[in-house]
Symmetry: C2
Subunit: 251 residues, 2 copies
DNA sequence: GCCCGGGCTTTGGTCTGACCAAACAATTTA
DNA sequence: TAAATTGTTTGGTCAGACCAAAGCCCGGGC
């Protein structure tokens, strides 16, 4: 197995906050800490682990960024560091930056959206409750009105999110939400640059309604196909056309 | 639009480190900071932003956790805080914890894997280079030997990762890697509990070879179907059977 | 002139100890 | 009883110090 001698990164000796992080993760992985549970106060962790408060706080910041933790001052039941479950926030933030760093070309994101949302739509068609359908219908109805483009964009997002959540798969829903949020700004920019906005809006409305109908009719195949072509077609015909002359958006 | 009065979380007044984070993100989103660029030294950021070093460091920790930053001590060209691009590390870590928190039931993860990897396989079949195929074949060949289960599991991961990367879509590849890594421990546990390990290994080998052949033959449909049924079947027949009597794994 | 070694500088990593402010609880007061 | 006050807990912030790793630079020796 004599691999090339390169790529022998020196073992980065663990920093203190990483050790703290490891201890807390242990507790989570072992099941000793679940959603809703509270961590000991920072000052107490300092004693327990024998490190400085700064180290503890850096570890907590990381967990918070991952959507695993939520910190509040004060004394009440909602105070302190509480284990939470907000994966989509963390995911969204992470994807946003990496997309800005051009690690993820728009084409890749479109592909990912198409894949994830196609699957979500199929799941949704199979198991959406009346309640789920209502949640999908609300933004749909609002988009039928004349709206500012920003609001239209938000409703568009809400509609797709509702589908993902109706699928009943939190992981896929969260990834869908994160990816959709990550392109939110890009889409909004595209919306604002369109010359005949109303025509585009009309097309989107029609496609959304068709998707909704397919899901309501429990036609998984059709729902999946419609969503996929909706996403691909939209980006191909509209976004790329609008953005083709630019590199970076406005600063 | 008179929504219910609840859910009016008080705006959490931004904490200092969040402001620092925002400033750095601005630079990234505006394109002033790209991969490879260096941030000013911590002490300099302290002056520039007028905050304490602790606040700066907490912000940097967050970026580091997201795989956007890499910090090293010293003076050389690789020292300081450098913008990096390691999305899969951050994603993996994030998913790992949230899976442990049971936010993501195993069934959801399986569904996500099936969806993502099916799509990756189709992409790979369409564009895999000879080099990509070689990277897929290496772990495949190693799995044909008699290996410790842990190593077998690693090769299994490598094989699936190679497919994802051959697809040429970094976002989907990173999500695939993260999800696969997140279940690494679960799978390993299952492997160790199997009674007739060799039979299972044989089955996995055969399925892997079939997938490889389909991709090499550029048969996207077949590759996608095989991967999907490989993942679903494996979990249905093996993992769930092994884990059915348990709640939490060993601590 | 070239190489090598020791010291200097830069930079992140860590700790200490202090004070602030929010949120709530307990107590006193009208 | 109800309102106002005080106190306690807890995270948020800061200042300042010291450590250790990694290069860089300069001088001495070959």
């Amino acid at each position: 197995m004599a691999e090339s001698t390169a790529a022998w990164e020196p073992v980065p000796r663990s920093r203190t906050f990483e050790l703290v992080l490891a201890r807390i993760e242990e507790q989570i992985l072992a099941g000793n800490l679940g959603v809703g549970d509270r961590l000991p106060p920072e000052r107490e962790l300092v004693e327990l682990l024998g490190v400085s408060r700064a180290a503890v706080r850096e570890a907590l910041r990381v967990l918070e960024a991952q959507g695993v933790l939520r910190s509040r001052v004060g004394t009440g039941p909602a105070s302190g560091s509480v284990i939470a479950a907000m994966p989509s926030e963390g995911l969204t933030q992470l994807l946003r930056l990496h997309m800005a760093l051009a690690n993820f070309p728009l084409a890749d994101v479109v592909e990912a959206r198409a894949t994830l949302e196609r699957s979500s739509a199929r799941l949704a068609a199979g198991r959406a409750t009346a309640d789920d359908l209502a949640r999908m219908h609300t933004p749909l109805a609002r988009m039928d009105e004349v709206l500012p483009r920003e609001e239209f964009n938000d409703c568009d997002t809400d509609f797709h999110v509702a589908i993902a959540e109706a699928g009943g798969n939190r992981l896929m829903a969260d990834m869908t939400i994160a990816v959709r949020n990550a392109v939110r700004h890009t889409l909004l920019t595209a919306f604002h640059k369109l010359s005949d906005w109303e025509a585009v809006a009309a097309r989107l409305r029609a496609e959304h309604h068709a998707i909704y109908d397919a899901i309501a009719a429990r036609d998984a195949e059709r729902a999946g196909d419609l969503v996929e072509s909706h996403i691909r077609g939209f980006h191909r015909d509209i976004v790329s056309a609008v953005l083709e002359n630019e590199e970076a958006g406005e600063p």
